[in-house]
Each structure stands twice: as C-alpha cells, then as structure tokens.
C-alpha cells in the first residue's frame, strides 16, 4: 500500500509543468539520438549530463531516463526506413523491418514496434516497481562484503554476458579500475598515482571519460563511412497493422517484453542481447519461421519489445543496489552522484520521491513516445533527410563544450578529447567500452567496500564466505567468471 502512495506522490512530481517538460525533452532527445546512426542513448545522456547540472534532481533524472528508453524507440525508425540500425539493439528490427518496408509495409513495422515498445515499457515499469522494492528490501541487509562482491559481479557480468571476447572485456574492466585508482585514496586521503600533478589529485571524472569514449569516438567512427541512404517514405494513414498482422504479433510482444525484462535485470547483458534472444525465441514459436530474415512482423515485435523492457529491467539493480547493469544506467548513476545523491540500497528509503517520480515519469514518457511513434513517425522520418555530415561536427563541439562546462576547466575538455581518441582506437581493436566505464563508476565502491570488509574481519578473507549473502554472491561471481571460458571450450569441442 505504501508503494501506491509513493507512486501517487511520484506522479504528483512528474505531472508538474517542470516534470512534464523534462520528460518530454528527455524522450524527444532520446528519440533523436536513437535515430541517429552511431550515437546511442548512453552517448546522448553523457552529452546532456552537463545541461542537467543546474536542474532540480528529480527533473534531471527524469530527463536522462527519458533519453535512455526514448533511444530504444528512435533506433527503429532508421532500422526500418534506411536499413541502418540507430543502435546495435535495433539490428534485428533492421533485418526484418526493412524487408517489410521494401514491400510497402513500413507503417506496419513501425506501428508494431511502437505498440510493442509501449507495452514493454509500461509492463516493464510495473515490474520495475515490484523488482526494485523487493531487491531494495534484501539489499538493506547488505554490508561491505556484499557490496564489494556486487561491484565485482557488475564488472564480471558485463564481460561474461557480453557478445565479444571475455578476455578483452575483463581487460577493459581492469583498465577502468586502474583509471579509477588515480587520485586521492578513499580511506586515507593520500594522493595516489598522481605523479606530482595537481590536476590528477581529484582523479578522472566520469563525465569526460564517457563523453570521449561514447560521444566523440562514435561520431568519429560514424563519419568514416557516411552513406546518404534515401529513406523509404511512409504516410500517416499507413501507420497501422491489419487485424491479421496484430494477431500474428501480439504474443511476440508479450514474450519479447518478458524476455527483455529478465535479461535487463542481469548486469551487463544489455538491450542487444535481449533483442537477439527474443528474436531467436520468437522464431521457434512463430507460425512462419521461414519469414524470419525476410520480413517477419513478429520478429520486429519481439525484438523491439525486448530491447525496451530490458532498459527498464536494468534500472532495478541501479535503483535498488546502486549497481549499474548497463552503460546507460552507469551514466544515470553518475548523474545521481553529480546531483549530490548517494546511490545504493538506502536510495529508495532516503530519496523515495526521486525514485517514484522516475518510475511515474516512465509511464508518462512511454505514452508520449507512443504518440511520437505512431501519428508523428512520418515527421521523425523526415528528420532523417538532414544530412549526418552537417549534424556530426555540431555533435562533436557540443560534446567538447559540455565537457568544459562540467568543471569550467580546459583539462576536462582535453581529457574528453584524449578518451575520444582512445575510444576510437578501442572500436578499431574491438575492445568493449562498456566494461571500462562501468568499472570506472564502480571503482570507488569496490575499493572502499573491500577495504572496509578486511578492516571488519581484521584482514581475514573468510568474511566473504562466512556471510550467507556474501557466499551466494561469491558463487555467482565465480560462475559468471568461468561461464564464457567453459562455454567456449564446449563450443570448440563441438558439444
């Protein structure tokens, strides 16, 4: 009952003019960055982070979250109309959605994606409310050992559940921790790895690193190959499905939403894994599996529903435990820290209005996105006619000015430039950037909780196996660490 009261209070905050404006701006920007190839929601959020500094924390978080889930909707438009996924989680929609568009059913593909995303967003938000309350109640019993293991799990799971090489992902996680170790020791306050440089005493700020790795690097890579694809046009009156098409897709929406939410709860799995898994599962359930890859509407419905609900699912561990499960939630977590809010299991108790207004804003945001993606989809499709070569330089300077504005220091801007080049090289070497950013965010929690644990146990590592929750987390960490290597061995052996 208390949760409903808090949700009502959350709606009261979200429905104020400031709240509504923040939600609208968030989902609008999310829709646009999602539609721009090469610029995902995480990059959009990182770029917009400096703009939120002077804002009310509730409004700032609602706006940034709007970019996160709005980006999932936006990616569909480019996938269907020009066969270029706005981001990786829309690849499945590009495969089948564009085939449908070529057959003159672009409106049906966009409509099923919008309705599926809306359903997944709303159901996912209800599930998020329950999951966050449940997880938070458990997490209140956690102490330093559990937090250390949770932080380790966050980094390991990103490597384990990611799609590339686990060695590369773990290496990037370790590099993120190394960058996080620069600055002032969190316990003693002594300078560490600063080499006498006063600029390094405060360590590397998350913001310029994220702006560089995601914003600048992605724009540079996308400018290497700019294809002026002519979008397939769609009309407002075509923006719906026939009753047969809806009958074919509705179960796909349900299954995709459920799969996406569960995948989203797992740290590191992300929207791409959710969309891919939902697509593969739907192919098994489909009455027309031979159409997958050739224009299956249920394939579009499943993958688009899954990528939306996975984003909502990923918010649960972030809100309840203070552990970001994805790059987007890592940026959201950084936004909370920048607003002076300490994330963690006490967040829901200490900042109930912030959490519940965020949840309420997601209901409202999904309604706004449904309107944007059904009657207004042709309008957004028209935006695709603005050449990317004109937008890209503006995005680059916006990133750099944003980095400067964060601290009013040219050093921050130089750090963003440096990490932009590093991010570009990482993309070329196929080194994942998400583990680095997640590790950088989790580094202070990891170090503080490890040292506090060993202080509590007078130096004995047995504290990690003597406490039931810690032991369960330790076993989970070991399983996640071993899983990719064991699976690779099995696949090599042809099992």
């Amino acid at each position: 009952m208390e949760a409903f009261d808090l949700l009502a209070q959350g709606f009261a905050v979200a429905l104020t003019p400031t709240g509504l404006f923040s939600i609208f701006m968030g989902v609008l920007i999310g829709q646009i960055v999602g539609a721009l190839p090469g610029l995902g929601p995480a990059a959009g959020m990182a770029l917009l982070l400096p703009v939120t500094f002077g804002m009310d924390p509730n409004a700032a978080v609602m706006m940034l979250a709007g970019i996160l889930y709005g980006g999932m909707y936006g990616g569909t438009i480019t996938s269907v109309l020009i066969n270029v996924p706005g981001e990786s989680s829309s690849v499945m929609a590009a495969i089948d959605g564009h085939q449908l568009a070529r057959r003159g059913r672009a409106g049906a593909a966009l409509a099923v994606a919008a309705v599926g995303s809306f359903f997944a967003g709303v159901v996912g938000t209800v599930a998020l409310a329950f999951a966050a309350v449940g997880l938070s109640a458990i997490a209140l019993r956690f102490n330093a050992p559990e937090f250390f293991l949770l932080a380790v799990l966050g980094i390991i799971a990103t490597a384990s559940l990611g799609t590339g090489s686990p060695t590369k992902a773990l290496l990037m996680g370790a590099v993120g921790l190394a960058i996080g170790a620069v600055g002032t020791d969190p316990i003693s306050g002594n300078a560490r790895l600063t080499f006498g440089n006063s600029y390094l005493v405060d360590g590397f700020d998350f913001l310029p690193v994220a702006i560089g790795l995601f914003g600048i690097a992605e724009v540079l890579v996308s400018l290497e190959n700019v294809h002026a694809e002519k979008p397939i046009t769609t009309r407002l009156r075509d923006m719906w499905m026939t009753s047969a098409e809806w009958a074919q897709s509705r179960m796909a929406v349900l299954r995709g939403s459920a799969i996406g939410f569960v995948v989203g709860l797992m740290p590191g799995a992300g929207a791409t894994v959710a969309a891919f898994l939902a697509y593969v599962v739907e192919r098994r359930f489909s009455r027309n599996p031979e159409m997958f890859g050739k224009g299956a509407l249920d394939g579009v419905a499943a993958s688009e529903s899954a990528n939306n609900s996975s984003v909502t699912g990923a918010l649960a561990p972030m809100l309840a435990l203070g552990i970001p499960g994805s790059t987007g939630t890592a940026v959201l977590l950084a936004a909370l820290v920048l607003q002076g809010i300490r994330p963690g299991p006490t967040l829901m108790a200490d900042q109930p209005i912030l959490v519940w207004s965020l949840i309420a804003s997601m209901f409202i945001g999904n309604v706004v996105l449904l309107v944007m993606n059904l009657p207004l989809a042709p309008l957004f499709a028209a935006l695709l006619r603005v050449p990317y070569v004109l937008l890209a330089p503006a995005i680059l300077v916006f990133s750099l000015v944003g980095a400067y504005a964060a601290t009013m220091s040219f050093v921050t801007m130089v750090v963003a430039m440096g990490f932009g080049i590093v991010g570009y090289l990482m993309i070329k070497a196929d080194l994942p950037r998400a583990p680095l950013v997640l590790a950088l965010v989790l580094a202070p929690l990891l170090e503080e909780s490890l040292r506090q644990s060993l202080l509590l146990s007078l130096g004995s590592p047995m504290i990690f196996v003597e406490r039931p929750f810690a032991l369960a987390l330790l076993i989970t960490v070991i399983v996640f660490l071993a899983m990719p290597f064991v699976l690779r061995r099995f696949s090599k052996a042809g099992v």
Binding site: T167, N190, I216, V401, L431
Partner: protein, 150 residues
C-alpha cells in the same frame, strides 16, 4: 587486428608497471587493515595477467581479420578531423569559444566533409548560436571569450 590487440596488451602491461612503480612509496598493509597500495597492486596484477592473456590469444589465433581502418575518403576525413578536434581545444583557449566553435564546424563541414561553403558557413553559424543559447543563455555558463570580446 592482431597488431592492434598486441599493442593494446603492451599498453596495458606498461600501465600495470606504472601502477606498480607509481605506488611504490605507499603501504600495502598497515597494522591490521589494507593500505593505500593494496587495491592498486591487485589491479596492476589483474591488468598484467589479462594483458598477457590477450597477447597470447592474439598470437595463438590461426586466422586474423584485418583491422577496420578507414581507407580513401574515410581516412582523409580522420586525418583532418582528429587534429581539428585538438585544434578546437587550442582555439577555445586562445580565441574564445564562439570563434573556436564557428571555425571548427566550418572547417569540418567544408574541408573535411566536402560540403559547399554556403552550407558549411550556415551550419557553423547555426551551431554557434545554438551552443551560445544552450550554455550561455539557458544554463548561465560563462564560456571564455576571445580577444575580440566575444
């Protein structure tokens, strides 16, 4: 791709050595609790082990995909844009943000991305106005001005 992976492994290996030497004057353990060097040393060891694993994987792999470096027009764009980004930093520091923003966008669109002068200058003007409106007017951030007073 193999050369890039080996380079990445070498850089991280070097990073682990720097962490080891850079924290040499700090205690690993003090009395009955971990010291300032405790976590950095664990990170350095993890970096070294993982870098060696990556290097070994890269050398042991029988086939190698070529690194996706840009060629032709893409390479030309990168050779122009990367120094231009660095130039923007210098320009902003010495000429002020409005001139640097205008100059960077005009250079990027006209020279690097081969758009017409009119398109490039119009894009640069719109971007400069947008940046000023968002950061200076809306957010009240005082971006450094140049010698011309803007």
């Amino acid at each position: 791709m193999r050369n890039l992976e080996l380079m990445a492994a070498a850089v991280v290996l070097l990073m682990s050595v720097v962490i080891g030497f850079g924290t040499a004057d700090l205690p690993v353990w003090s009395d009955f609790s971990p010291g300032d060097r405790f976590v950095p040393i664990i990170i350095a060891v993890a970096c070294a082990v993982l870098a060696l694993s990556l290097g070994w994987e890269a050398l042991a792999r029988p086939t190698h995909e070529p690194a996706p470096w840009p060629s032709g027009e893409g390479a030309r764009r990168m050779f122009l844009l990367v120094p231009a980004v660095a130039g923007f930093g210098l320009g902003a520091a010495y000429l002020g943000f409005p001139i640097a923003v205008f100059g960077f966008v005009a250079f990027a669109t006209v020279v690097a991305l081969r758009q017409s002068w009119t398109t490039g200058f119009a894009t640069a003007a719109v971007t400069t106005i947008l940046i000023h409106t968002i950061f200076v007017v809306s957010l009240g951030i005082r971006l450094p001005k140049g010698p011309l007073g803007f």
